[in-house]
Amino acid sequence: MNIDKDLVAAMATPLVLAILLEDRSYGYAILKRVRELSAGDVEWTDGMLYPLLHRLERLGYIRAEWGASSEGRRRRYYEITNAGRTQLAEQRKQWEAATRTLGGLWGLTTVPVAGA
């Protein structure tokens, strides 16, 4: 199953931030992690990740620095910032509310209702 393009676009920011919350990473590894997590459901044109990363950097959610791979190849590493963590927490709340809403209709939810 392929997730719809618009939905992927909406997921992209929290997905990247959540992956970077695990550890600092670089473009190719982030995409590998996305494929692994979604088992191929999230179809992403690889090149589109970089403009997104640059935007998140501009917004101050992540920080970038040049490093090198073990084979000595030049590589740009990204790391989540405090602002990024706050943003991710906020987005997470929204996604939980969204899945809870739909899950309530479809009877699929495993997300506990807050305060219940």
Binding site: Y28, T45, G47, M48, Y50, P51, H54, R73, R76
Partner: protein
């Protein structure tokens, strides 16, 4: 001779990425590192060099699409560069369509000019009908690009046909003022046809009407820029030709200027669409700059007029000047609200807008009052009726606008009301222009 080694192909790909102005060397390094790592991983699964390269490039995405995305994020690197990166949904055909329609109107205007010459140099006919050779083609281009359904297209074509026949069967007196009024108002009516084509016939939707308004503003800016460039080109051409063929200059101008001006209408429309997503809209920016300046100017003028009075040297053309002034104020309001959704609203801007609108109303009422007091002694002429009518149309618009902006500032009315009012009022402008073009001439006996 260069062989197609894997290394060469990576370098070629890198060069293709770097050709896009929004991609810098660092971005290319990053993308290249990605490509190389992907190739290595693919080769580890047993693919050949060639296969791995092709799959890796495919996964990164088409160069055009990826670089367009970079352009969106790094529009600051572009600064109004006019090199086109094609849109994702295959806008390649749009260039051909644009050029075809631009050439069409460029040719039509020459046919019109030659016909005018052939029929004994009826200059006024050509001036009056010039817009008929241009704006319907622009509307046709937009209808074509929007894939407008056939029925509304036929309706619009019918409207244009009726207008064209009507203004040409009218027995205008030569040098009469109704003739000149039609020449001014016909393009306005036709612009409404263009606007309807731009929104693909969805004229009822307030949001789509606002889109048409935005389009108009951006189009004017692009057209002005093209016209400036064209003027430089024409000026230099004349200077370059003058030593060798001074007699040819007039002929060259006669062919180049009308066709260029006509074709540029389509090119400007295409530019508005093509650059819409990459570069911030310019009309709201200009509005933000000029709203405070006009507010000050109008306030000072209103105080001056109130203090001194306008009894002395009352100029009959003053009403036209005030029509232009009110039109500018309406424009400032409309383009100010067209940018409203872009970011958090500043109530300071609303205050300035209100000051400008109220000052304009005060000024206009003063002029109108002294004008009406003299209508008895001056009498109604076509020009005066047209100027007075437009003035009233604008005054009503601004009076309600002032009321609504005050409501917004007081927190009583949502800002959307101002937008709804403006978009809802658009047909009134169209109807007035139509009335001047079709009703006024017979009423005044085509004088």
């Amino acid at each position: 001779m260069m062989t197609e080694t894997p290394e060469n192909r990576i370098q070629e790909w890198r060069a293709a990425i770097l050709r896009a102005p929004a991609v810098d060397a660092g971005d290319a390094d990053e993308l290249e590192a990605h490509l190389r790592e992907q190739i290595d991983d693919l080769k580890a699964t047993g693919l050949t060099d060639d296969e791995a390269f092709l799959v890796a490039v495919k996964r990164l995405g088409e160069v055009d699409v990826v670089t367009a995305e970079f352009a969106r994020e790094h529009s600051d690197r572009l600064w109004k560069q006019l090199a086109m990166s094609r849109e994702a949904d295959g806008a390649g055909g749009s260039v051909v369509a644009m050029l075809a329609f631009a050439v069409l109107t460029g040719v039509l205007i020459q046919v019109g000019r030659l016909l005018a010459d052939a029929w004994g140099g009826s200059e006024t006919w050509f001036v009056r009908d010039a817009s008929l050779f241009v704006l319907p083609v622009l509307a046709g281009y937009l209808a074509f690009v929007r894939r407008m359904p056939l029925k509304p297209v036929l309706v619009l074509a019918g409207v244009v046909l009726v207008l064209a026949v009507a203004v040409n069967v009218f027995p205008f007196e030569s040098g009469g003022s109704t003739d000149a009024l039609v020449a001014i108002h016909l393009p306005v009516v036709l612009w409404f046809v263009v606007g309807i084509a731009y929104v693909g016939g969805e004229v009822r939707s307030s949001a789509r009407r606002m889109d048409a308004v935005r389009f108009t503003g951006e189009w004017v800016i692009y057209y002005t820029l093209i016209a400036l460039g064209g003027a430089v080109l024409i000026g230099l051409t004349a200077l370059v030709l003058s030593p060798i063929a001074p007699d040819a200059i007039d002929q060259v101008m006669l062919w180049v200027i009308p066709s260029g001006a006509a074709g540029a209408t389509v090119v400007a429309a295409w530019l508005v669409e093509e650059k819409k997503s990459v570069i911030e809209n310019l009309a709201p920016v200009l509005t933000a700059i000029f709203t405070p300046l006009f507010a000050v100017m109008l306030l000072v003028s209103a105080i001056g007029y109130l203090a001194v009075g306008i009894g002395l040297d009352f100029n009959r053309d003053l009403l036209t000047v005030f029509d232009a002034l009110l039109l500018v104020v309406v424009g400032l309001v409309v383009y100010g609200i067209s940018a409203r959704n872009a970011g958090p609203r500043s109530s300071l801007m609303d205050v300035l807008r209100l000051v400008a609108v109220i000052a304009a109303i005060v000024l206009d009422v003063l002029v109108l009052a002294s004008m009406l007091a003299r209508v008895g002694e001056l009498g109604f002429t076509p020009n005066r009726v047209a100027a007075l009518g437009l003035n009233i149309v604008l005054l009503v618009n601004l009076a309600v606008t002032a009321w609504l902006i005050a409501g917004v500032l007081a927190g009583k009315a949502p800002a959307l009301r101002v937008e709804r009012w403006q978009t809802g009022y658009l047909p009134v402008f169209g109807a007035w222009a139509l009335a001047v073009a079709l009703v006024l001439p017979p009423v005044f006996g085509f004088t």
